[in-house]
Amino acid sequence: MVENPLVTLASMLPLPIDIALGVIVYWLLLGLAGLLAQNSRVITRFIFPAGALGALVLAVAALSSLGSAVNVAVLPLGLPDLPFHLRLDALSAFFMLLLGAAAVGISLYSAGYFRSMEEGALGLLCFEYHIFLAAMAMVFMADDAYLFMVAWETMALSSYFLVTTDHKVAEVRRAGFLYLLIAHVGAIAILMCFGVMQGGQGDYTFDAMRESNLTAFWASVTFLLALFGFGAKAGILPLHAWLPEAHPAAPSPVSAMMSGIMLKTAIYGILRVSFDLLDVQLWWWGALALTLGLVTALFGVLFAAVQTDMKRLLAYSSIENIGVILAGIGLAIVFHSFQKEAMAALALTAALYHSLNHAFMKGLLFLGTGSVLHATGERNLGKLGGLIHHMPKLALLVLVGVLALAGLPPLNGFVSEWLLLQAFLLSPGLPHSYLNMLIPIAAAALALAAALAAYVMVKFYGVIFLGQPREKTVVEQVHDIGIWERAGLIWLALGCVLLGVFPVFFILHIDFVTQQLVGQTLGDSAAKIGWMWLTPIQPERASYNPLILLVTIIIGVLFAAYAVKKFYHGRLRRSPAWDCGYPEQSARMQDTAEGFGQPIRQIFELFFGITRKVPDPFDKKPHYHGETRDLLWEWCYLPIARLTEKLSALTGKLQHGRINIYLLYSFVTLLALLAFIR
C-alpha cells in the first residue's frame, strides 16, 4: 500500500489545539523572560517581536483548524478532581484567528513604542502584556466554567494592571478602578449564568451544559445574565462607562488590544452561551439584543462626535462598533428562533466579519493615536493639526483605518455593513408581523449610525492630521514613526485592505463557524459566480465586487491624471491660501474638535448633558467653558453609588471598634444559630 506523503506529514504535525497550547505556554515564558531580563533593549528588540511570531503561529494554526475536526484536551491542572477541559472548535478557532492576527500587528508595534519606557516598569508591562494575551487565548479554548472563569479573571486582572501602567496619575487609578469594578460586576453575572446552566447537576463542563435541557424560563434567565455579564465587558449600554475612561488611561498598544481583541471575548461569550450552550432560542432575546445593540451604536457614535480627546473618541467609537456587532447577533437570534437558518447565517456572518474588521481597524487607529501621542505628547485634539506634513507615513496608514472605520468601499468596514444591511432586507420573510415592521426602523438606525461614523472619522482625521498646527510648539520636534511601529501599522492596514477587497475568501472560512452555530452557511451562494463576487443570497438579489470597484476607481484616477497631463499642462505654483480673500488668517480660525462636533451637539442636544459658561460681553479676558457629559452617569451610576454608600453607612453603624460589642455580636449569632438548628 502506497502512503500518501501529505497524509503522513499531516499526521506528524501537532494538532492545532497543541499548537495553541504551545503558544500560550510560549507567551507565558516570554512574559517571565521579560520580567527577569529587565533590560529595555532585550525586551523591545527580542521579546515583543518573538511574541508577534507566536501570535502569527497561533493565527495560522487557528486558520488551518477552521473546518477540521473539533479538538479536545483535558489538562490535569487546577484543583484535584477538577481538571481543565479545553476545546478548539470552529467558533473558538475563529476568535483565536482574530486574536493572533491582530496581536501580530500590536506586538510588532509595541516593540517600537515601548522603547523609551523606563526599564523596571517595562519588564512588568511585558509580563502583564503576555499574560493578557495568553489569558485571552485561554478564554477562547476553555470548555468548562471553572477554567473559563479562571482565564476570564486573569484577563481582567492583567488588563487592569496594564491600564494602570501609569499609576502615579490619580485619574488613571480612578479609571482602572472603574474598569475593575464593572468587570467584576459582569463576572458575577457570568458566574451566575454558568450556575443556572449546569442545572443543579454540579457538573460545570460545557458538555454537561449542552445536555441540560433548560425550560424556557431558565434559559431566558441564562441569556439575560450572559447578556449582562458579557455586556459589561463589551461596553453595551448602560455598562459602557469604563471604556471612555480606561482607554485614554492605558498605553496605546494596550488600548488597541483591549478594544480590538478583548471586547471580542465578550462577543465570543455571548455567541457561545446563546448559540452553543443553550439549545433553545426565543425570538425576544434577539429583539432585545438588536434593540440594545442599535441603541448602543447610536449612543456611541453620537458621543464620539463630541469628544475632544482622541482616545476617548475612539473608545466611544468602539462602543458603537460593539453595538453594531450585537445588533447582528440579535438579528441572527431572531432568524434562528424562527428556523430561518440561511438568514441567521447571513446575520451571523455579518457580526463575525465585523468583529474581525473591528480588531484590525480599531487596532490600527489606537496604535496611530499612540504614535501621535509619542510624537507630540498631546491627546487633546484642540492642540493638534497639520501632522500630515510631519508624519506622512503615519498619516497614510491611519487614513486607511479611518476610511475603513467610516464604512467606505472598497475597505473592510463596508463589507460587514453591507452584509448586515442585506440581512435586514431579508427580514420580510419572518412570520411575526410586528417584528417585520420594527426591522425597517432598525435598518434606518443602523444606516444613521454608519453615516455618523463617517462624520466622526472625518473629524478625527481632519483635526489631527490636516490643516495647520493649532499649537506651533506641539509639532515642532515631531519625527515620523520608526520601523517597528511602521511594521505593526502596515500589518493592520494590510488586513483592512485585504478583508475589504477579498471578502469571499474570509467568508468561506467564517462559514465553518455559522455551520457550527446555526447549521447553515453562505458558502454555496456566497461565491456562486466566482470567488471575487460576494453574492450572499442569489446573484440576482444582491452582489458586490470590491475588486472591480477598486480597479475601476483606479482606472478612473489614472485616466483623468493621464488625460490632464497629456492634453494640458502640469504647471503648478504655490501661494498663500485664498480663503475668500480674508487677509487675517490664523490657525486658530480653523474648527476645533468642539467646533466640528457642534452641529451634532445642537441637533441631539436632548441626549447630552451640556453645561456652558458663556462670558459676560464686557469681560476683558473672556473665558468660555463648555462640557458635554454622559447623562447615564447621573441617571444610572450615581444613584447606585449613593445607594451603596447609604447601605454601607447603615452597616457601618454596627461597627464600634470595641471588642466587647463584637463579642456580643458573636454571642447573639451563636444563640440565634442554636435556636435555628436545635
Binding site: 504647471r571 491660501a577 441637533i603
Partner: protein
C-alpha cells in the same frame, strides 16, 4: 460583448453630457429669471478655461489635497456609469449594488471634506463640517429610499430593480411616492442646490459646497466641478431608474437603444427644467433649518418603507 459595448458607451456618454445637464439647468434658470443666459455650452467653456490655467496651491496643501479631485472624478464617474440609463445590460452594475452606490457617494463626500480641512482655513473647515452634517442625514435617507425599491423588487441590484419596476403596470405605489419625495429632497441637499445650498454664490456665510472647494483652482477645480456635474447626473438617472424606468432598453435589445437615448434626453430636459423652476421659486434656508429638512426626508423615506410593509405595495 454587447454588454461591454453598452457599458463603454454609457461611460463615455455620462462623462460627456454631465456638463451639458448643468448648462441646461443654468439656462432654464436664466430664462425663468428673465435673463438671456450664457447658453447650454457654458460649463464646457468653463472647464476648458480651467484646464488651461496654472494650478495654484496653498503652501500648506498636502498630497491628499492634490489627489482628492482625481478620486472625486473617478468615483463620481463610476457612480454615473453604474446606473442603468439607456440599457440594463451593464457588466459593471452587478459589481456595485445600491448599498455600495451609497458607499461610493460617501467615499467622495469624505474625501472632499478631508481635502477641505487640509489647507486649514476657516471657510474650508466650516464647509467640511456642514457637508458632513448634510451628508450624515442624507445618506441614511437615500439608503431608505433604495430599500423601499429593493423591498418591492426583492433585490438590491439596480438592474433588477429597474427591470422589475419597468414591468409593473402603471400605477402609483404609495410607498414609492413617499420615497420619491424623500429622494427629491436628498437630491437637492446632496447636490448643493437651493434650498439647502446655493451653487451660484461665494460670498455668503451659508455656503457649503463652495466653501469646501475655495482653495481649488485650475485643473483641480475643473475636475471637482466635473465630478459635481457627474454626481448631479447620477442622481437624476437614479431618480429615473427608480421612479420613471420606462423607455429603457432591456438586456440584449440593441434596436431599442436609440429610442432609449431619446427617452433619456427627454427625461433629463424635463427634470432639469423642473429643478430650475424649483430653485427659482424657493429661497435658500438658514443652515440651522437644514437638519430639519433632512430629518423630514429621512422620516419620509422610513415611512415609505413602513407603508410598503403595511400595504404590501
Amino acid at each position: 460583448m454587447n454588454g461591454i459595448l453598452i457599458q463603454l458607451l454609457q461611460n463615455a456618454l455620462v462623462v460627456l453630457i454631465a456638463p451639458l445637464l448643468l448648462g441646461w439647468i443654468n439656462q432654464c434658470r436664466a430664462w425663468l429669471q428673465n435673463r438671456s443666459g450664457a447658453g447650454v455650452l457654458q460649463p464646457y467653456r468653463n472647464l476648458i478655461k480651467l484646464f488651461h490655467k496654472d494650478a495654484v496651491l496653498a503652501h500648506n496643501a498636502s498630497p491628499l489635497f492634490r489627489f482628492t479631485p482625481y478620486i472625486l472624478f473617478a468615483s463620481m464617474w463610476l457612480a454615473a456609469s453604474l446606473v442603468p440609463v439607456i440599457a440594463t445590460d451593464l457588466p459593471l452594475s452587478p459589481a456595485v449594488d445600491v448599498i455600495a452606490l451609497v458607499g461610493i457617494f460617501a467615499l467622495a463626500r469624505v474625501f472632499i471634506s478631508l481635502a477641505a480641512m487640509d489647507v486649514g482655513t476657516s471657510f474650508g473647515t466650516l464647509g467640511a463640517r456642514r457637508e458632513m452634517l448634510v451628508g450624515f442625514l442624507a445618506e441614511p435617507a437615500l439608503l431608505m429610499v433604495f430599500f423601499t425599491a429593493a423591498m418591492i423588487s426583492q433585490s438590491t441590484s439596480l438592474v433588477t430593480i429597474v427591470e422589475t419596476l419597468a414591468h409593473k403596470q402603471f400605477m402609483i405605489y404609495p410607498s414609492l411616492a413617499f420615497a420619491a419625495v424623500a429622494f427629491a429632497m436628498v437630491l437637492l441637499a446632496e447636490n448643493a442646490r437651493i434650498p439647502v445650498d446655493n451653487p451660484a454664490t461665494h460670498l455668503e456665510l451659508t455656503m457649503i459646497h463652495e466653501a469646501m472647494i475655495l482653495e481649488y483652482s485650475a485643473r483641480h477645480l475643473a475636475l471637482v466641478e466635473w465630478a459635481s456635474a457627474l454626481k448631479l447626473l447620477a442622481y437624476f438617472t437614479i431618480g429615473f431608474a427608480l421612479f420613471l424606468p420606462w423607455g429603457i432598453a432591456e438586456t440584449g435589445n440593441m434596436s431599442a437603444l436609440p429610442l432609449a437615448l431619446i427617452a433619456l434626453f427627454l427625461k433629463l430636459a424635463t427634470a432639469g427644467a423642473g429643478l430650475a423652476l424649483l430653485e427659482t421659486v424657493s429661497a435658500k434656508m438658514r443652515i440651522f433649518r437644514v437638519p430639519e429638512f433632512m430629518g423630514t426626508a429621512f422620516l419620509l423615506a422610513v415611512l415609505g418603507m413602513l407603508i410598503h410593509f403595511l400595504l404590501g405595495s
